[in-house]
Protein backbone atom coordinates (compact mmCIF):
# COMPACT_ATOMS: atom_id res chain seq x y z
CA UNK A 1 0.00 0.00 0.00
CA UNK A 2 1.23 3.46 -0.89
CA UNK A 3 2.14 5.60 2.11
CA UNK A 4 2.90 9.26 2.45
CA UNK A 5 6.47 9.96 1.66
CA UNK A 6 6.76 13.75 1.85
CA UNK A 7 8.81 15.03 4.70
CA UNK A 8 7.59 17.60 7.16
CA UNK A 9 10.01 20.07 5.60
CA UNK A 10 8.24 19.68 2.28
CA UNK A 11 4.93 20.18 4.04
CA UNK A 12 6.25 23.34 5.62
CA UNK A 13 7.38 24.57 2.22
CA UNK A 14 3.90 24.05 0.81
CA UNK A 15 2.40 25.86 3.78
CA UNK A 16 4.73 28.77 3.26
CA UNK A 17 3.70 28.92 -0.40
CA UNK A 18 0.16 29.41 0.81
CA UNK A 19 1.10 31.88 3.49
CA UNK A 20 -0.33 35.39 3.48
CA UNK A 21 3.15 36.70 2.76
CA UNK A 22 2.76 35.82 -0.89
CA UNK A 23 -0.22 38.16 -1.03
CA UNK A 24 -2.95 35.57 -1.51
CA UNK A 25 -1.74 34.86 -5.04
CA UNK A 26 -1.59 31.20 -6.03
CA UNK A 27 1.90 29.81 -6.58
CA UNK A 28 3.00 29.03 -10.12
CA UNK A 29 3.17 25.29 -9.57
CA UNK A 30 -0.28 25.27 -8.05
CA UNK A 31 -1.73 27.23 -10.96
CA UNK A 32 -0.19 24.71 -13.34
CA UNK A 33 -1.57 21.74 -11.39
CA UNK A 34 -5.03 23.24 -11.04
CA UNK A 35 -5.12 24.07 -14.74
CA UNK A 36 -4.12 20.52 -15.66
CA UNK A 37 -6.60 19.02 -13.21
CA UNK A 38 -9.38 21.16 -14.65
CA UNK A 39 -8.50 19.71 -18.05
CA UNK A 40 -8.97 16.20 -16.71
CA UNK A 41 -5.36 15.35 -15.82
CA UNK A 42 -5.72 12.83 -12.97
CA UNK A 43 -2.02 12.87 -12.13
CA UNK A 44 -2.10 16.62 -11.58
CA UNK A 45 -5.11 16.24 -9.33
CA UNK A 46 -3.28 13.44 -7.52
CA UNK A 47 -0.40 15.79 -6.84
CA UNK A 48 -2.79 18.36 -5.40
CA UNK A 49 -4.29 15.66 -3.21
CA UNK A 50 -0.87 14.67 -1.91
CA UNK A 51 -0.01 18.30 -1.22
CA UNK A 52 -3.08 19.02 0.83
CA UNK A 53 -4.37 15.77 2.29
CA UNK A 54 -2.44 15.92 5.56
CA UNK A 55 -3.51 19.46 6.33
CA UNK A 56 -7.11 18.70 5.41
CA UNK A 57 -7.02 15.63 7.65
CA UNK A 58 -5.60 17.68 10.51
CA UNK A 59 -8.31 20.33 10.19
CA UNK A 60 -11.11 17.74 10.00
CA UNK A 61 -9.73 15.92 13.04
CA UNK A 62 -10.07 19.10 15.06
CA UNK A 63 -13.82 18.61 14.63
CA UNK A 64 -13.97 14.81 14.36
CA UNK A 65 -11.15 13.15 16.31
CA UNK A 66 -11.97 9.67 14.97
CA UNK A 67 -9.18 9.00 12.45
CA UNK A 68 -11.16 6.61 10.26
CA UNK A 69 -14.15 8.90 9.94
CA UNK A 70 -11.90 11.90 9.36
CA UNK A 71 -10.06 10.03 6.60
CA UNK A 72 -13.37 9.20 4.91
CA UNK A 73 -14.27 12.87 5.01
CA UNK A 74 -10.90 13.81 3.52
CA UNK A 75 -11.57 11.44 0.61
CA UNK A 76 -15.09 12.81 0.21
CA UNK A 77 -13.74 16.38 0.21
CA UNK A 78 -11.28 15.63 -2.59
CA UNK A 79 -13.91 13.78 -4.54
CA UNK A 80 -16.20 16.78 -4.30
CA UNK A 81 -13.32 19.05 -5.30
CA UNK A 82 -12.66 16.88 -8.34
CA UNK A 83 -16.31 16.97 -9.38
CA UNK A 84 -16.48 20.73 -8.97
CA UNK A 85 -13.15 21.65 -10.51
CA UNK A 86 -14.99 23.47 -13.29
CA UNK A 87 -16.60 25.77 -10.69
CA UNK A 88 -13.22 26.74 -9.19
CA UNK A 89 -11.92 30.20 -10.08
CA UNK A 90 -8.26 29.59 -11.11
CA UNK A 91 -7.28 33.17 -10.27
CA UNK A 92 -7.81 32.30 -6.61
CA UNK A 93 -5.85 29.93 -4.41
CA UNK A 94 -6.87 26.28 -4.39
CA UNK A 95 -6.23 25.78 -0.65
CA UNK A 96 -8.98 27.96 0.87
CA UNK A 97 -11.49 26.63 -1.67
CA UNK A 98 -10.59 23.04 -0.79
CA UNK A 99 -10.70 23.73 2.95
CA UNK A 100 -14.12 25.32 2.53
CA UNK A 101 -15.39 22.13 0.91
CA UNK A 102 -13.83 20.04 3.68
CA UNK A 103 -15.18 22.20 6.52
CA UNK A 104 -18.66 22.27 4.97
CA UNK A 105 -18.63 18.49 4.60
CA UNK A 106 -17.53 18.18 8.21
CA UNK A 107 -20.38 20.46 9.34
CA UNK A 108 -22.83 18.36 7.31
CA UNK A 109 -21.53 15.19 8.91
CA UNK A 110 -21.78 16.64 12.42
CA UNK A 111 -25.32 17.83 11.77
CA UNK A 112 -26.28 14.39 10.47
CA UNK A 113 -24.86 12.78 13.60
CA UNK A 114 -26.73 15.25 15.80
CA UNK A 115 -30.01 14.63 13.94
CA UNK A 116 -29.53 10.88 14.21
CA UNK A 117 -28.76 11.25 17.92
CA UNK A 118 -31.97 13.15 18.52
CA UNK A 119 -34.10 10.23 17.35
CA UNK A 120 -31.96 7.41 18.64
CA UNK A 121 -33.24 5.39 21.57
CA UNK A 122 -29.90 5.63 23.39
CA UNK A 123 -27.50 8.53 23.08
CA UNK A 124 -24.07 9.23 24.50
CA UNK A 125 -25.11 12.77 25.48
CA UNK A 126 -24.30 11.96 29.10
CA UNK A 127 -20.61 12.18 28.35
CA UNK A 128 -20.85 15.93 27.89
CA UNK A 129 -22.75 16.65 31.08
CA UNK A 130 -21.42 19.03 33.67
CA UNK A 131 -19.25 17.25 36.21
CA UNK A 132 -20.99 15.70 39.16
CA UNK A 133 -20.15 17.76 42.28
CA UNK A 134 -19.95 14.55 44.28
CA UNK A 135 -16.88 13.57 42.30
CA UNK A 136 -13.76 15.04 43.88
CA UNK A 137 -12.22 16.56 40.78
CA UNK A 138 -13.66 15.72 37.41
CA UNK A 139 -10.40 16.69 35.75
CA UNK A 140 -8.40 14.11 37.65
CA UNK A 141 -8.55 11.57 34.86
CA UNK A 142 -8.11 14.01 32.03
CA UNK A 143 -4.86 15.48 30.88
CA UNK A 144 -4.65 19.15 30.14
CA UNK A 145 -5.20 18.93 26.40
CA UNK A 146 -8.29 16.77 26.89
CA UNK A 147 -9.65 19.32 29.32
CA UNK A 148 -9.00 22.12 26.86
CA UNK A 149 -10.69 20.05 24.16
CA UNK A 150 -13.80 19.66 26.33
CA UNK A 151 -13.92 23.40 27.00
CA UNK A 152 -13.42 24.16 23.33
CA UNK A 153 -16.40 21.96 22.48
CA UNK A 154 -18.61 24.24 24.59
CA UNK A 155 -18.05 27.14 22.19
CA UNK A 156 -20.69 27.58 19.46
CA UNK A 157 -19.71 26.07 16.10
CA UNK A 158 -19.28 29.31 14.13
CA UNK A 159 -16.88 30.72 16.73
CA UNK A 160 -15.09 27.42 17.37
CA UNK A 161 -14.32 27.08 13.66
CA UNK A 162 -12.62 30.47 13.58
CA UNK A 163 -10.66 29.65 16.72
CA UNK A 164 -9.54 26.28 15.34
CA UNK A 165 -8.52 27.60 11.95
CA UNK A 166 -6.72 30.69 13.24
CA UNK A 167 -5.21 29.66 16.56
CA UNK A 168 -4.75 25.92 16.21
CA UNK A 169 -4.14 25.54 12.49
CA UNK A 170 -2.41 28.86 11.93
CA UNK A 171 -4.52 30.13 9.01
CA UNK A 172 -4.31 33.89 8.51
CA UNK A 173 -7.55 35.84 8.98
CA UNK A 174 -8.00 36.37 5.23
CA UNK A 175 -7.79 32.60 4.68
CA UNK A 176 -10.23 31.95 7.51
CA UNK A 177 -12.54 34.48 5.83
CA UNK A 178 -12.18 32.63 2.51
CA UNK A 179 -12.77 29.21 4.08
CA UNK A 180 -15.83 30.28 6.04
CA UNK A 181 -17.13 32.60 3.32
CA UNK A 182 -17.32 35.60 5.64
CA UNK A 183 -15.70 39.03 5.50
CA UNK A 184 -12.40 39.58 7.24
CA UNK A 185 -14.01 42.09 9.62
CA UNK A 186 -16.52 39.43 10.68
CA UNK A 187 -13.73 36.95 11.25
CA UNK A 188 -11.79 39.39 13.43
CA UNK A 189 -14.89 40.08 15.48
CA UNK A 190 -15.68 36.37 15.81
CA UNK A 191 -12.11 35.61 16.71
CA UNK A 192 -12.17 38.13 19.56
CA UNK A 193 -15.51 36.78 20.78
CA UNK A 194 -14.37 33.16 20.49
CA UNK A 195 -11.26 33.80 22.60
CA UNK A 196 -13.40 35.55 25.20
CA UNK A 197 -15.87 32.63 25.17
CA UNK A 198 -13.02 30.17 25.62
CA UNK A 199 -11.69 32.06 28.62
CA UNK A 200 -15.16 32.27 30.20
CA UNK A 201 -15.83 28.58 29.59
CA UNK A 202 -12.47 27.67 31.12
CA UNK A 203 -13.15 29.84 34.19
CA UNK A 204 -16.60 28.25 34.61
CA UNK A 205 -14.94 24.85 34.54
CA UNK A 206 -12.40 25.95 37.13
CA UNK A 207 -15.14 27.23 39.42
CA UNK A 208 -17.05 23.96 39.09
CA UNK A 209 -13.93 21.99 39.95
CA UNK A 210 -13.21 24.21 42.98
CA UNK A 211 -16.77 23.79 44.17
CA UNK A 212 -16.51 20.03 43.77
CA UNK A 213 -13.27 20.03 45.78
CA UNK A 214 -14.96 22.00 48.60
CA UNK A 215 -17.91 19.59 48.67
CA UNK A 216 -15.47 16.68 48.83
CA UNK A 217 -13.57 18.27 51.73
CA UNK A 218 -16.80 18.91 53.66
CA UNK A 219 -17.97 15.32 53.32
Amino acid sequence: MWTMSESDAEDQAIESEDSPENGGVPSESEVRLVHAARNGDNDAFGELVQRYERRVLKVIRRFIPDLEMATDLVQESFLRAFERMDQFDPSRRFGPWLFRLAVNLTYDHLRKVRRRGRWALFTDAGEDRAPDPAVSDPRRDLDLSQEVQVVLAEIPEAYRTVLILRDLEGFCTSDVAAVTDRSEATIRWRLAEARKMFREAWERRERRADKARLVQRDT
Binding site: V49, Q50, R61, R166, D167, R188, L191, R199, W202
Partner: protein
Protein backbone atom coordinates in the same frame (compact mmCIF):
# COMPACT_ATOMS: atom_id res chain seq x y z
CA UNK B 1 -9.58 59.35 20.72
CA UNK B 2 -9.45 57.68 24.13
CA UNK B 3 -10.98 54.22 24.28
CA UNK B 4 -13.08 52.84 27.09
CA UNK B 5 -12.28 49.55 28.83
CA UNK B 6 -14.86 47.53 26.93
CA UNK B 7 -13.41 48.61 23.58
CA UNK B 8 -9.93 47.86 24.88
CA UNK B 9 -11.00 44.37 25.94
CA UNK B 10 -11.95 43.65 22.34
CA UNK B 11 -8.42 44.66 21.34
CA UNK B 12 -6.96 42.50 24.10
CA UNK B 13 -8.78 39.45 22.68
CA UNK B 14 -7.08 40.12 19.35
CA UNK B 15 -3.72 41.05 20.84
CA UNK B 16 -3.23 37.69 22.59
CA UNK B 17 -3.15 36.05 19.17
CA UNK B 18 -1.06 38.78 17.50
CA UNK B 19 -4.01 39.91 15.43
CA UNK B 20 -3.78 43.64 16.10
CA UNK B 21 -3.02 46.25 13.47
CA UNK B 22 -0.27 48.78 14.19
CA UNK B 23 -2.61 51.63 15.11
CA UNK B 24 -4.72 49.35 17.34
CA UNK B 25 -1.55 48.19 19.07
CA UNK B 26 -0.67 51.80 19.89
CA UNK B 27 -4.15 52.49 21.24
CA UNK B 28 -4.00 49.39 23.42
CA UNK B 29 -0.55 50.19 24.79
CA UNK B 30 -1.47 53.76 25.72
CA UNK B 31 -4.66 52.59 27.50
CA UNK B 32 -2.91 49.79 29.36
CA UNK B 33 -0.30 52.15 30.75
CA UNK B 34 -3.02 53.87 32.71
CA UNK B 35 -5.53 51.08 33.40
CA UNK B 36 -4.60 48.36 35.88
CA UNK B 37 -7.92 46.50 35.34
CA UNK B 38 -7.15 46.07 31.66
CA UNK B 39 -3.59 45.01 32.47
CA UNK B 40 -4.86 42.22 34.72
CA UNK B 41 -7.50 41.29 32.14
CA UNK B 42 -4.74 41.04 29.54
CA UNK B 43 -2.74 38.75 31.83
CA UNK B 44 -5.78 36.48 32.31
CA UNK B 45 -6.44 36.41 28.59
CA UNK B 46 -2.81 35.50 27.88
CA UNK B 47 -3.05 32.54 30.28
CA UNK B 48 -6.26 31.35 28.62
CA UNK B 49 -4.61 31.67 25.23
CA UNK B 50 -1.60 29.66 26.40
CA UNK B 51 -3.98 26.91 27.50
CA UNK B 52 -5.70 26.91 24.14
CA UNK B 53 -2.38 26.67 22.35
CA UNK B 54 -1.55 23.43 24.16
CA UNK B 55 -3.91 21.85 21.63
CA UNK B 56 -1.83 23.10 18.73
CA UNK B 57 0.88 20.53 19.27
CA UNK B 58 -1.36 17.88 20.80
CA UNK B 59 0.31 14.58 19.85
CA UNK B 60 -3.12 12.98 19.42
CA UNK B 61 -3.78 15.37 16.54
CA UNK B 62 -0.44 15.00 14.81
CA UNK B 63 -0.84 13.06 11.59
CA UNK B 64 1.74 10.31 11.42
CA UNK B 65 3.33 10.94 8.06
CA UNK B 66 4.86 7.48 7.82
CA UNK B 67 2.02 5.21 8.84
CA UNK B 68 -0.94 7.19 7.58
CA UNK B 69 -2.04 5.95 4.20
CA UNK B 70 -2.71 8.46 1.49
CA UNK B 71 -6.29 8.68 0.27
CA UNK B 72 -5.10 9.10 -3.33
CA UNK B 73 -5.00 5.41 -4.40
CA UNK B 74 -8.59 4.75 -3.31
CA UNK B 75 -9.65 8.18 -4.49
CA UNK B 76 -8.15 7.59 -7.90
CA UNK B 77 -10.01 4.26 -8.18
CA UNK B 78 -13.25 5.98 -7.22
CA UNK B 79 -12.65 8.70 -9.82
CA UNK B 80 -12.01 6.05 -12.50
CA UNK B 81 -15.16 4.19 -11.47
CA UNK B 82 -17.26 7.33 -11.69
CA UNK B 83 -15.79 8.21 -15.06
CA UNK B 84 -16.55 4.73 -16.38
CA UNK B 85 -20.17 4.63 -15.21
CA UNK B 86 -22.46 7.15 -16.87
CA UNK B 87 -23.51 9.97 -14.65
CA UNK B 88 -27.08 9.59 -13.44
CA UNK B 89 -28.97 12.67 -14.42
CA UNK B 90 -31.97 13.75 -12.45
CA UNK B 91 -35.07 14.33 -14.54
CA UNK B 92 -38.29 15.96 -13.40
CA UNK B 93 -40.96 13.27 -13.17
CA UNK B 94 -44.15 14.77 -14.53
CA UNK B 95 -46.10 11.55 -14.00
CA UNK B 96 -45.88 11.89 -10.23
CA UNK B 97 -47.27 15.43 -10.38
CA UNK B 98 -50.10 14.39 -12.74
CA UNK B 99 -51.03 11.48 -10.49
CA UNK B 100 -51.06 13.74 -7.44
CA UNK B 101 -53.31 16.29 -9.15
CA UNK B 102 -55.73 13.53 -10.23
CA UNK B 103 -55.84 12.08 -6.73
CA UNK B 104 -56.48 15.49 -5.22
CA UNK B 105 -59.28 16.29 -7.71
CA UNK B 106 -60.88 12.93 -7.05
CA UNK B 107 -60.75 13.55 -3.31
CA UNK B 108 -62.38 16.98 -3.72
CA UNK B 109 -65.16 15.60 -5.96
CA UNK B 110 -65.84 12.79 -3.51
CA UNK B 111 -65.99 15.23 -0.62
CA UNK B 112 -68.43 17.55 -2.43
CA UNK B 113 -70.66 14.64 -3.39
CA UNK B 114 -70.75 13.26 0.12
CA UNK B 115 -71.63 16.70 1.47
CA UNK B 116 -74.51 17.13 -0.96
CA UNK B 117 -75.89 13.68 -0.17
CA UNK B 118 -75.71 14.53 3.52
CA UNK B 119 -77.76 17.66 2.87
CA UNK B 120 -80.39 15.73 0.96
CA UNK B 121 -80.68 13.29 3.83
CA UNK B 122 -81.13 15.96 6.52
CA UNK B 123 -83.43 18.25 4.52
CA UNK B 124 -85.17 16.16 1.84
CA UNK B 125 -87.09 19.15 0.42
CA UNK B 126 -83.87 21.10 0.00
CA UNK B 127 -83.73 24.78 0.69
CA UNK B 128 -86.28 27.12 -0.76
CA UNK B 129 -85.06 30.30 -2.46
CA UNK B 130 -85.71 33.35 -0.36
CA UNK B 131 -87.79 35.04 -3.03
CA UNK B 132 -90.44 32.32 -2.94
CA UNK B 133 -90.71 32.50 0.83
CA UNK B 134 -90.93 36.22 1.26
CA UNK B 135 -94.19 38.01 0.95
CA UNK B 136 -93.69 40.54 -1.82
CA UNK B 137 -95.73 43.15 0.03
CA UNK B 138 -93.29 43.24 2.95
CA UNK B 139 -90.74 46.02 3.13
CA UNK B 140 -87.07 45.01 3.05
CA UNK B 141 -86.76 45.88 6.73
CA UNK B 142 -89.56 43.47 7.73
CA UNK B 143 -88.56 40.75 5.33
CA UNK B 144 -87.88 38.12 7.90
CA UNK B 145 -87.53 34.59 6.81
CA UNK B 146 -90.80 32.79 7.01
CA UNK B 147 -90.91 29.21 7.96
CA UNK B 148 -92.74 26.87 5.69
CA UNK B 149 -94.74 24.26 7.52
CA UNK B 150 -93.36 20.82 7.01
CA UNK B 151 -90.10 22.11 5.61
CA UNK B 152 -88.69 24.53 8.12
CA UNK B 153 -90.36 23.41 11.29
CA UNK B 154 -87.19 22.02 12.72
CA UNK B 155 -86.61 24.25 15.77
CA UNK B 156 -82.90 23.60 15.63
CA UNK B 157 -82.63 25.13 12.19
CA UNK B 158 -81.61 28.72 12.77
CA UNK B 159 -82.46 31.11 9.98
CA UNK B 160 -81.41 34.68 9.86
CA UNK B 161 -83.00 37.63 8.13
CA UNK B 162 -81.96 38.09 4.54
CA UNK B 163 -81.96 41.15 2.40
CA UNK B 164 -83.53 40.80 -1.08
CA UNK B 165 -80.24 40.57 -2.90
CA UNK B 166 -78.88 37.84 -0.61
CA UNK B 167 -79.10 34.18 -1.41
CA UNK B 168 -79.88 31.94 1.51
CA UNK B 169 -77.25 29.42 2.33
CA UNK B 170 -78.05 26.20 4.01
CA UNK B 171 -75.40 24.46 5.99
CA UNK B 172 -75.78 21.09 7.58
CA UNK B 173 -75.54 21.09 11.38
CA UNK B 174 -72.42 19.08 11.28
CA UNK B 175 -70.53 22.19 10.15
Amino acid sequence: MAMNCSEVKHLIHLDVGDDLRAEEDLQLSSHMEQCSDCRSYHAGMSSAMALLLTLRDDPAMVVDSVNTKSVWPSLSREIQRRKASPRVTRKFNLQVVALSVCSFSLAVVTMVQSLSSMRDYRDPAGFVPAQTVFNQSQTPQTKMLQFRPGVNDDPSAVRTALLPHETPVWLPQSF
